[in-house]
């Protein structure tokens, strides 16, 4: 395998890297990744979308649900409660119902929508391979996530109260 010289023919080699011709990791001081964190979460969002489209068919036949273990045991909902309901509602086009169940689904949906064009742009070499965020930006993201999680938890407490899931 040839060495990776990304400073030269960047576009071709970026595309080659992304298409798997080079392994992720350290390339002479440049730590390259195949997918950034938002892309990974967006990819998961796509899986959630497919799952949400198939989920009702499964639950209608079996009656099996996906309870939140925390709520089932303690009666206290968690910040992610309602995501299954929200995802199913969103793939059915019921945005209001999705928001009522868990507004965070729209963040996941936005990443899921963005991941397709991002993959195309990276695979064609228009965008460079992703690099890890600097520590400062990561800290900033963490500071954003915790209040969001708290807000979502309060939302779920308001929506569901403290009661064990049936």
């Amino acid at each position: 395998m040839p060495d990776l010289h990304l400073q030269d023919s960047r576009r071709d080699e970026s595309a080659a890297y992304y298409l798997g011709l080079y392994p992720a990791g350290d390339h002479r001081g440049a730590d390259l990744r195949t997918f950034s964190v938002p892309e990974r979460v967006g990819g998961f969002g796509l899986l959630v979308g497919v799952g949400a489209a198939l989920w009702p068919a499964f639950t209608d036949h079996t009656g099996v649900g996906l309870p939140c273990p925390l709520r089932a045991v303690t009666g206290v909902p968690c910040p992610v409660c309602g995501m299954t309901t929200a995802a199913v509602a969103l793939v059915r086009g019921q945005a209001g119902a999705a928001f009522s169940a868990n507004p965070m689904i729209f963040g996941l949906a936005a990443l899921a929508v963005a991941v397709g064009p991002l993959v195309v742009l990276r695979a064609t070499g228009v965008l460079k391979p992703p690099e890890p965020w600097p520590a400062a930006r990561r800290r900033w993201a963490e500071r954003l996530i915790w209040p969001l999680a708290l807000a979502s938890w309060l939302f779920q407490l308001h929506r569901l109260g403290i009661d064990r899931a049936s």
């Binding site: 001081g29 730590d31 964190v37 995501m83 600097p134 520590a135 990561r138």
Partner: protein, 211 residues
């Protein structure tokens, strides 16, 4: 420390002679001969962004010229830990579970059809349990690879030693997975964004899954 082999093409190679600039993204800054790199959270990035997330922290030892250490942070020539992706981890777990489905289906079909059938069902059920014990805990603890992990080319090792964690700790780690399920299974998704791609259980037991 002995660590699993890295698939990085640079791993195991000697750095170029002193004074020779290696090709890098952005402005190259190879370490000087004999000069130690201070431990950094992250390796040098292209674009010259210091102290970045995503690089291993193993051992916190400074990189030295001519010394290759798996997971050594910072420094030119240091090999990155190749963490397994969420997809690989989930796939391995899925394979470990799916393999046992036929056994439990047979046990379920036989159960309730007379004493002899019940006995056979119990045998199948125990065989499934034995397979879990052997695959998840014995194999997974001793070699780091269950059948599913082996199929996907990943292995579970200790974050501190790089070695398999042993059957006992593999069992405790699986118990700790209960915490991953606690808040709507969010712990299972942590490898999507975590720097070391660890679940809650991995953080508690101090394990990583590598390629």
């Amino acid at each position: 420390m002995t660590y699993p082999p890295n698939n990085d093409p640079q791993y195991g190679q000697q750095p170029p002679p002193y004074g020779q600039q290696p090709p890098q993204y952005g402005q190259p800054q190879p370490p000087q001969y004999g000069q130690q790199q201070p431990p950094q959270y992250g390796a040098p990035q292209y674009g010259q962004q210091p102290a970045q997330y995503g690089q291993p922290q193993y051992g916190q030892q400074p990189a030295q010229y001519g010394q290759q250490q798996y997971g050594t942070p910072g420094g030119y020539g240091a090999a990155a830990v190749n963490y397994a992706s969420w997809g690989q981890r989930a796939g391995g777990y899925l394979i470990d579970g799916v393999i046992l489905v036929p056994v439990y289906i047979v046990a379920a079909l036989l159960a309730g059809h007379g004493t002899f059938a019940n006995l056979i069902a119990v045998v199948f059920y125990l065989a499934g349990l034995g397979a879990v014990f052997y695959n998840r805990w014995f194999l997974g603890g001793k070699t780091g690879q269950t059948w599913g992990r082996k199929a996907l080319g990943i292995r579970l090792v200790s974050e501190e030693t790089g070695q398999p964690i042993g059957p006992g700790m593999a069992f405790v780690r699986d118990l700790c997975h209960a915490l991953d399920s606690l808040a709507c299974y969010i712990g299972w998704l942590f490898p999507l964004w975590d720097a070391k791609r660890q679940t809650f259980a991995d953080k508690i037991i101090k394990t990583i899954v590598v390629n």
